[in-house]
């Protein structure tokens, strides 16, 4: 898509601009310094919050900042007649109370740390099998051949859908999240997901199994079955939010290690640092920016915000804010003070954060166990996705 160059980042920001996707860090540093609440008129307009203080304040003020629109990229065009739409959005992420409250309560036990512990063995085996597929070759695309292959298969297991469709699921989710500027791709992704889930839901009605879709179909809320639109919305959320995000975090962590052999060597020599290292990767390379919509005219940090305005809560920039984190731009594997908000903050804290953390930790542990030294391939051309979710999509590395 043709894109006008950014005039200046304070009043004309574009989170899909190639310069921002490639290196948002310097832009955030500049904005936090000179214009912490930035503005754009692109795509019907939006505000961009960049400091830890402002991002967490907005996340907690759910009366002013509604979750009814969480997409960072608003489509330029209105939906056309005949377009499939998710009637209830993606509860609970794109809803406010009361829908948010009860749908979140339904979902949370599926991602409790006890449940996530049960997925660890299969995640580890999956990582080992993936590595086994390329270790002899001495090189791999660690984003496409490894990171991208992990979360989708665990999510498929939770939903109860076949992991042989992993590439299809990944394609739909990328269409929705990474190509939000491209109306045809978004339409293809949304239709793919809805049509697929409608069929799966019908199948679970007849033949319940031990999976999340079955539970949603057969659970009652206030004495009645859950509306099918809500069931499909929740299942679609798990698919959309559980794949691209964690894969991006795994990829960015590997990108850091490939480029920082001292950190790799230290993590191999001192595996007891893994827990703080994982939190540090999540802080320094947080993948996800979320949006909110302003519910009433208000002033926020001197900026006149109007009902209906889109506000981007830039969690990745908050996590690099030097006013809150010491040496915010450095990756410190044993960082102690680390109240990062990679999974958000307040009542919309990522419901899948336990799962994401486990997948990231196991993916890095298994990689380092079998590939303790590796580096970027000569002349490697790394590509990044950005906008709502930032992470490497092509990441060629070599190892002895």
């Amino acid at each position: 898509m043709e894109r006008a160059p950014v005039k200046d980042w304070e009043t004309d920001f574009d989170v899909m601009d190639p310069a921002y996707v490639l290196d948002p860090f310097t832009i955030w540093d500049q904005l936090r310094e000179v214009c912490p609440v930035a503005r754009t008129e692109r795509r019907h307009g939006a505000w961009l919050l960049t400091t830890y203080e402002d991002v967490t304040a907005a996340a907690h003020d759910v009366k002013t900042f509604s979750s009814l629109e969480v997409g960072v990229i608003a489509p330029e065009e209105e939906p056309e007649e005949g377009d499939l739409v998710l009637e209830y959005g993606l509860p609970p992420i794109s809803s406010d109370a009361p829908l948010h409250t009860w749908t979140r309560r339904l979902l949370l036990p599926w991602f409790s740390h006890r449940r996530v512990d049960e997925y660890e063995v299969v995640t580890r085996e999956l990582c080992q099998n993936l590595i086994g597929g390329f270790i002899e070759a001495g090189h791999a695309d660690s984003a496409a051949d490894y990171a991208q292959q992990i979360p989708v298969r665990i999510i498929a297991k939770i939903l109860g859908v076949p992991d042989s469709l992993s590439d299809t699921f990944t394609g739909w989710v990328r269409d929705v999240l990474e190509f939000a500027d491209d109306r045809d791709r978004v339409r293809r992704g949304v239709e793919g997901i809805i049509n697929y889930l409608v069929e799966e839901v019908a199948r679970r009605r007849e033949d319940p199994r031990d999976d999340l879709i079955s539970e949603l179909v057969h659970t009652e809320h206030e004495g009645a079955p859950i509306d099918e639109g809500i069931v499909i919305g929740i299942a679609a959320l798990v698919l959309i939010a559980g794949i691209d995000t964690t894969w991006s975090a795994i990829g960015s962590s590997l990108w850091h290690l490939a480029n920082n052999p001292d950190d790799t060597a230290r993590l191999v020599a001192e595996p007891e640092l893994m827990d703080t290292a994982i939190e540090e990767f999540l802080r320094a390379y947080s993948p996800v920016t979320m949006a909110r919509v302003v519910t009433h005219d208000t002033e926020f940090k001197g900026c006149p915000m109007h009902e209906g305005d889109k506000v981007l809560m830039n969690f990745p920039s908050a996590n690099r804010d030097p006013a809150f984190f010491e040496d915010a731009d450095k990756v410190i594997l044993d960082r102690i003070q680390n109240r990062h908000v990679a999974f958000g903050s307040g009542i919309h804290r990522c419901a899948g954060s336990n799962l994401a953390r486990m997948e990231l930790r196991v993916a890095i542990e298994e990689w380092l166990r079998q590939i303790p030294t590796f580096q970027m391939a000569d002349g490697a051309e790394v590509t990044w996705a950005g906008g709502q979710v930032r992470g490497p999509r092509v990441l060629p590395v070599v190892f002895p």
Binding site: R105, L108, H113, T276, E279, I336, S345, I347, R349
Partner: protein
């Protein structure tokens, strides 16, 4: 050293559990609780500080 979790602030990030499972548990809905009675064992004091310093909701208080 004593530790407390403010239930009204906790949002279930479970960072305390990830970093100090000996000291904290988190229920199926994300509510964290302190697992021990009384003083934090001396050998776990650093873990308690780490958990507190990683809570995004400032929900863990430490009294030394």
């Amino acid at each position: 050293m004593r530790i407390t979790v403010d239930a009204s602030k906790c949002q279930g990030h479970a960072r305390c559990y990830a970093l100090a499972p000996e000291l904290f548990d988190v229920d199926d809905y994300g509510q964290s609780t302190v697992r021990i009675d009384g003083d934090v064992p001396v050998e776990l004091e650093d873990r308690a500080r780490l958990a507190s310093a990683n809570c995004p909701e400032f929900a863990i208080d430490i009294v030394e």
